[in-house]
């Protein structure tokens, strides 16, 4: 399995407050990598360092072998990484359709844009029904679907998802994670940050455990699922 | 030029105490020697410097120490000036009573303004006070009040009688009066901000939520701050009226508000005695620049403001504080 994304000794801080400490992480092409940890462990920060947004940091970030450490966010997006932020990050005042159009901002051709929108509507039929509606009036689950559809628009190689299960009812979470699996089967690698270890482990191929800014365990999902301490601490049984 | 350190002054080391008393000492020294060194027109300039410094002090208290902003402080200058003129010409009040009365009237207006100001976040407060500044000249000359304010022509103000008994002419007398009033005000302001009140105001400015949690009644302090600020600027307006011997709507055009703001920025917002640097700048600079080329004062004001915000946002006082800190005479605030 080739390495798609690599974090190399990455430390990050907000101003003077250190959040990540010498993190090493590898995301393999084709799989679903889950980063698990409690609140404040540094999961969101990790995703932000990949995009070089809001955090100061040391270390390197490599994507497909290319050093993207100092690249500005729009460039990173054009390389093929998109983001589903925590809290969905929808453009609340704009329509569902406009949200998707914005997702396709970096696409040069309107054909690709239309194809992307069709794909989003096929994956999430509810969005098609509500295409003219203001995004902020959608339910939490629908907004999450919208955020994922938007992230898919530019045919990315890797999607980063920040706590997609947050604040959603279990059935919706299951529905969404099933769709994530489908997206992954279609060839998009996923990097998933989650507090809900159970649902994350149900889809992940690789797992990384993070605690107060440090990676404490990482490896294939089956291995960690079988590990007793992991089960006790993260799954509670 | 003013210690903002949390330790009380009595426990500070002698060099720190010296540094904090220095501005006042310099002020007294310069102020007292001025009438003997300067002559004629220059004394009037010095008098103007003093009264503008007081006006800027008022703005500093509001914006620097309490984090509210006013683009319309010329309104309080106008209130102080017109109140003085009306009290003296229509009611025969002597100048030494008119000055504090004008200050009080200005303060009351300031307290009234302070109430809705509470509800406005900074950008909107700037907008509202901008509107006030633009409206002031029209408010002063409109038909409803022109009977009192003299309308477009304004009102004349008699200069105080010379204290010939101690050998001073009229200009020098005025200077001394203004100097004494300004000195008292500055000492009062300095004491105010060095103590509990000052710290409360700054807490409200920097961490409003924590300040509330600590039991500081933010609303009262903020309104009171508006009142105190407008008191000082109102008194400055009174002194200004006595100096120019004239008040008219154009004396308080929008440009004056901006001048006060820039004076505060130059001297340093978070400073009491820095207001003097501002005062010197806004009186002396146009005096010379007007002869250079038209529009020069405005050009210089604008350029200086932008440059200062880029490189020296704390103004002159910040520069001095930085130097003192490096020399070890002042705690970093």
């Amino acid at each position: 399995m080739t390495v798609l994304l690599k974090l190399d000794e990455v430390s990050a801080s907000y101003g003077d407050v250190g959040v990540l400490s010498r993190v090493n992480l590898q995301v393999s092409r084709g799989g679903i990598t889950a980063i698990l940890g409690a609140n404040g462990a540094g999961k969101t920060t990790m995703l932000r360092t990949i995009f070089n947004v809001l955090v100061r940091r040391q270390g390197r970030v490599l994507f497909e072998g290319e050093d993207i450490t100092h690249m500005r966010t729009p460039q990173v997006v054009r390389l093929g990484i998109t983001h589903v932020p925590d809290g969905r990050g929808t453009f609340a005042q704009l329509s569902v359709e406009d949200n998707l159009l914005l997702g396709g901002y970096t696409l040069g051709s309107s054909t690709l844009v239309r194809k992307g929108m069709e794909r989003a509507y096929d994956l999430f039929p509810r969005l098609r029904e509500r295409s003219r509606q203001q995004a902020g009036t959608l339910s939490g689950g629908e907004q999450q679907m919208l955020a994922i559809g938007r992230a898919l628009m530019p045919n990315p190689k890797l999607i980063l998802l920040d706590e997609p299960s947050f604040g959603l009812a279990p059935q919706i979470v299951a529905e969404i994670f099933k769709t994530l699996k489908d997206i992954n089967q279609a060839g998009v690698s996923l990097l998933l940050v989650e507090q809900n270890a159970k649902i994350a482990l149900s889809v992940a191929s690789h797992v990384c455990l993070i605690e107060t800014g440090e990676v404490i365990r990482s490896g294939p999902a089956d291995e960690l699922k079988g590990d007793e301490t992991v089960r006790k601490v993260y799954l509670g049984y | 030029m003013n210690t903002l350190a949390q330790t009380s002054l009595s426990s500070a080391s002698p060099p720190v105490k010296f540094a904090s008393r220095l501005p006042l000492a310099l002020l007294i020294l310069a102020g007292v020697s001025a009438p003997f060194v300067l002559a004629g027109y220059q004394i009037l300039l010095a008098t103007s410097v003093l009264s503008f410094s007081l006006a800027i002090l008022g703005l500093n208290l509001l914006s620097g120490y309490n984090g509210q902003i006013s683009l319309g402080h010329s309104a309080f200058l106008a209130i102080g000036g017109y109140a003085t003129a009306i009290l003296m010409t229509k009611f025969g009040v002597p100048y030494w009573a008119a000055i504090p009365l004008a200050g009080l009237i200005s303060m009351m207006v300031g307290l009234v303004v302070g109430v809705p100001a509470l509800r406005l976040e900074l950008l909107y407060l700037a907008l509202a006070t901008f509107a006030l500044a633009v409206a002031v000249p029209q408010l002063a000359k409109n038909k409803l009040v022109s009977h009192w304010t003299g309308g477009v022509q304004g009102l004349e103000v008699r200069k105080p009688e010379a204290w010939t008994a101690i050998g001073l002419n009229a200009d020098q007398t005025l200077y001394v009066i203004v100097f004494l009033v300004v000195l008292v005000c500055f000492i009062a302001a300095d004491n105010l901000v060095s103590g509990r009140v000052g710290r409360a105001l700054e807490a409200i400015r920097d961490q409003p939520i924590s300040a509330d949690a600590m039991g500081i009644n933010s609303r009262t302090y903020k309104i009171a701050c508006f009142g105190v600020s407008s008191f000082f600027t109102g008194v400055a307006g009174a002194l200004g009226a006595l100096t120019t011997q004239f008040v008219s709507p154009e004396s308080y055009a929008f440009f004056v508000s901006v001048t006060l703001l820039i004076g505060a920025v130059v001297g340093g917002f978070k400073s009491v005695y820095g207001a003097f640097i501002g005062g010197i700048f806004v009186v002396m600079m146009p005096n010379y620049a007007e002869n250079l080329w038209q529009g020069a004062p405005a050009l210089i004001y604008g350029a200086i403001t932008i440059l200062l915000m880029l490189v020296m946002p704390e103004g002159f006082a910040g520069l001095v504080r930085g130097v003192l800190w490096r020399v070890g005479l002042q705690k970093r605030s």
């Binding site: 901002y105 | 409206a135 038909k143 403001t305």
Partner: protein
């Protein structure tokens, strides 16, 4: 007062309101992506208006000068954002307000320096256009209304149908997410400033024939535009336009029938204070949630 006099006041108010609407629109261009009101918008417009005059004096036709000035104003707005305002991003609001006031004074000084403080005539380009002569409006008033409609149409089309317009709407709605879809928010801000400068220039050029040109020409106009933008809702371009029109009509009617023209500025002040303290979102504005 007779009916026709009333209608006359209404029409005059609407056309004055057109100028306020244009400048208010310019203010919103900047506000929606930065949450800042550009205090220097009026002075920028004044300089643009002087530029038209200079170009005409060098022999250009009015509309050629107008077009060139629009482009130059746009570029100037972009330059101001990229070279100056960008350095203050993240700084406290009070600092930025001071910078904008400083810029206002600086531009005023430049106008005074370059052109002097004497009031100058500025002929309306519409007086000579025959088909604008209607019975109830002066040619200039008709021209202003027409130009305003054209500008509003272009702005509407820009926002609705172009990619950049969508990007600006996105940046206004959610700057962080805009970055995540590949929008360079910095250049979008610059675009906003450029558009604001161009639209403001149109406002200035429409004003000069009526109040005559001097460096302080826009001071009261910008105040009315502030009031209009605030009344209509400064986060909503069309709300601000509506607010500007309303202020124009109100100014005329209140001035003519209620309080007389020498208290008009007090009226504007009252509008601003009332709206900001009682209904800060204005009539059509959206709630903006400020994070702690």
């Amino acid at each position: 007062m007779t009916d026709s006099a009333f209608v006359q006041q209404l029409i005059t108010g609407l056309t004055t309101g057109c100028v306020y609407a244009l400048v208010a629109l310019a203010l919103v261009m900047i506000y929606q992506t930065t949450h800042l009101v550009n205090f220097a918008q009026g002075e920028m417009a004044v300089l643009s208006t002087y530029l038209v005059l200079v170009l005409i004096s060098k022999g250009m036709s009015y509309w050629a000068a107008f077009a060139v000035t629009l482009v130059v104003s746009f570029l100037f707005g972009v330059a101001v954002e990229r070279l100056l305002m960008r350095r203050f991003s993240g700084k406290p609001v009070i600092t930025i307000v001071i910078v904008m006031v400083g810029m206002m004074i600086l531009l005023n000084g430049i106008a005074g320096f370059a052109f002097g403080y004497e009031v100058r005539r500025f002929d309306s380009p519409f007086d000579s256009i025959a088909w604008l002569k209607t019975g109830f409006m002066s040619p200039h008033e008709a021209g202003v209304a027409l130009v305003t409609l054209i500008v509003l149409f272009f702005v509407y089309a820009f926002f609705k149908f172009t990619k950049l317009g969508l990007a600006m709407r996105g940046a206004a709605a959610n700057p962080l997410s805009s970055q995540f879809v590949g929008i360079d928010v910095g250049w979008i801000l610059a675009l906003g400033w450029g558009l604001a400068a161009a639209i403001g220039a149109i406002g200035g050029v429409m004003t000069a024939p009526v109040v005559f040109l001097d460096p302080n020409m826009m001071l009261s106009v910008i105040l009315y535009s502030f009031a209009g933008a605030v009344l209509g809702g400064i986060s909503n371009p069309w709300g601000a336009v509506a607010g500007g029109l309303m202020l124009g009509v109100a100014e005329n009617l209140v001035g003519a029938y209620l309080i007389g023209s020498d208290l008009k500025l007090a009226f504007v002040l009252a509008v601003i204070v009332a709206v900001l303290t009682l209904a800060p979102n204005g009539l059509f504005g959206r709630r903006l949630i400020h994070r702690v």
